[in-house]
Symmetry: C2
Subunit: 136 residues, 2 copies
């Protein structure tokens, strides 16, 4: 049986976050001590690792909840693959978007050929979308 602190050290998930996950209906302790402290078993540890790993991969708690249900029910994992696939697509879209921003930012931080007393090109460019090359 693990205390919440042991679970925290074992997974790298902070104690208040574990309690938060419990409130969010993702992870309940197997039992409580007489004094009302949480005690987890191996299953709890693994479940928390599952959650933590999903979060590292950028999945929402919503998506993780869904995956946990599928995992609890076992069998058909079509939905699980759908979730992973959808998340992969979102990730790709976010990468593409960030890359456009990167280009823009790189350009912006170069633009500053103003002489003494003249306004800064960077600040001017920030106010004027028309100076941008692409979409963002």
């Amino acid at each position: 049986m693990f205390s919440i602190g042991e679970l925290s050290r074992a997974t790298g998930v902070k104690v208040p976050t574990i309690r938060y996950y419990e409130g969010a209906g993702l992870l309940a302790p197997e039992e409580r001590t007489e004094g009302n402290q949480r005690r987890y078993g191996r299953a709890g540890l693994e479940r928390l690792q599952f959650i933590a790993h999903g979060r590292e991969l950028g999945l929402s708690l919503e998506a993780i909840r869904h995956l946990l249900e599928l995992s609890d029910r076992g069998r058909d994992c079509t939905d699980a693959h759908l979730i992973a696939r959808r998340h992969l697509e979102e990730t790709r879209a976010r990468i593409a978007r960030l890359q456009r921003l990167e280009t823009e930012l790189a350009r912006l931080s170069e633009v500053c050929d103003h002489g003494p007393g003249e306004p800064c090109g960077l600040i001017a460019a920030l106010g004027d979308h028309g100076q941008c090359l692409g979409e963002h």
Copy 2:
């Protein structure tokens, strides 16, 4: 003089968001009508465009507030370039991180060679960080 709705249409920023920016100390209307409605001038419009553009570039309101102060004070824009540069670095780091996730997700959504009744490889992999190839 523009009403808040006109400003909204001109910039694409929603009305409640403009009010939120005001609460956040980024943008105040030049004046109010007798009936307490906000009225903005050209300066207000440009300031909002500045904010909106900064947000599109993913800058925090904090960073934008800072840039606005620099712009208001004019002259030395070293700090402005620092902000832009730091944000560019953050953006690059986020891209790199997302790309590692992309690889992992792509791999994950392929892994599912389980026979009928056997547990799904995807769900197992989600619980076990050790199966990952890289860092994330």
